[in-house]
């Protein structure tokens, strides 16, 4: 699910970028914020950070004693993406393996649909392997699949989420 969030953030402006003209300062803050926002990629609580929409407020700057840099507490609005357990969403198959398939959904690429979580589908090997059920419904690379999220896991080192999904409810499966 995509979310619109308000986030408090601390922006540190190096002493040399400080300018007597207020306008330049605001620009430095925005530039710095955009940089950090893009490199942070995701946070455990809010999910993936997509885009910054508006800078809501800039607080009183505090000078750091040794460096002379100034720290500004700011609040901004942005768009994030997070998968919730129990959520139903649609994803795109990007890899078909013997034991299941990998899907992507929004910015999340590691979404695993295990064979065990789609018991009526069987693996059909070949140059372009697929999963198929008795009604000839097919799951193959590039196809859209509607799934339910069983669990998610935050990987701190990669700053990424993994998710396990299943097809064990009505109206789930490949969507044509």
């Amino acid at each position: 699910m995509f979310l619109k969030v308000q986030l408090p953030w601390n922006v540190v402006i190096p002493a040399e970028s400080l300018d007597i003209k207020g306008l330049m300062l605001q620009k430095s803050i925005v530039v710095q914020l955009l940089d950090e926002f893009a490199s942070r990629k995701a946070t455990k609580d809010l999910g993936y950070l997509l885009a910054l929409t508006t800078l809501e407020s800039i607080g009183e700057g505090r000078v750091r004693e040794h460096t002379g840099d100034v720290l500004f507490p700011v609040v901004f609005s942005g768009v994030t993406f997070k998968l919730f357990r129990g959520e139903i969403a649609e994803g795109v198959v990007h890899k078909v393996l013997k034991h299941g398939v990998f899907l992507s959904c929004g910015p999340v690429e590691n979404i695993y649909l295990s064979k065990l979580k789609m018991p009526d589908y069987d693996y059909v090997p070949g140059e372009n392997p697929v999963f198929m059920n008795s009604k000839m419904s097919k799951i193959e690379k590039g196809f859209t699949v509607r799934f339910i999220v069983i669990g998610t896991k935050w990987l701190e080192s990669e700053r990424e989420f993994q998710a396990l999904v299943g097809l064990h409810a009505d109206y789930l499966g490949p969507v044509s």
């Binding site: 995509f2 893009a38 609580d45 919730f84 129990g86 959520e87 795109v92 992507s104 690429e109 109206y171």
Partner: protein
């Protein structure tokens, strides 16, 4: 959130901060990201260098999974769904998946039939018809 194993979107247990947070439908995100992308394009020749991978993948995703493209239609979808006492989360799941039948809608958002909620099948049916109408006239 307290006790992460308790999270279950089907019962609307997604943590207070998210229940109150504003959720966005895929089609709304598409409008926001495309607008951002256009802004970047004006500032540099190759906007693809300017955006993060997260941005790029999300933009591709919402372009593929937006049921409504026209900005007016997108606004209308939220307006119509807002009349049905849905939470932000339920509203967006419905707007994203556009179920065709009452049964399908309940399967996608089981919480709308939970105890104490006001939705009977007729109300859900009317809501789905309203949605289908927007799509038809988009």
């Amino acid at each position: 959130m307290s006790g992460e194993e308790e999270e279950n979107a089907a019962e609307l247990k997604i943590g207070d901060e998210f229940l109150k947070a504003k959720c966005l439908m895929n089609c709304e995100v598409a409008l926001i990201l495309e607008h951002k992308y256009d802004q970047l394009q004006q500032m540099s020749d190759d906007p693809r260098n300017q955006v993060s991978q997260v941005f790029e993948k999300s933009l591709q995703y919402v372009k593929r999974f937006s049921r409504y493209k026209n900005p007016d239609a997108v606004k209308q979808v939220r307006e119509i769904l807002s009349r049905y006492q849905l939470t932000e989360f339920e509203l967006c799941v419905l707007g994203n998946l556009c179920p065709e039948t009452v049964e399908e809608a309940i399967a996608m958002v089981p919480s709308i039939k939970a105890k104490g909620r006001v939705h009977d099948d007729d109300a859900i049916d009317k809501m789905l018809n309203d949605l289908a109408l927007i799509k038809k006239f988009e």
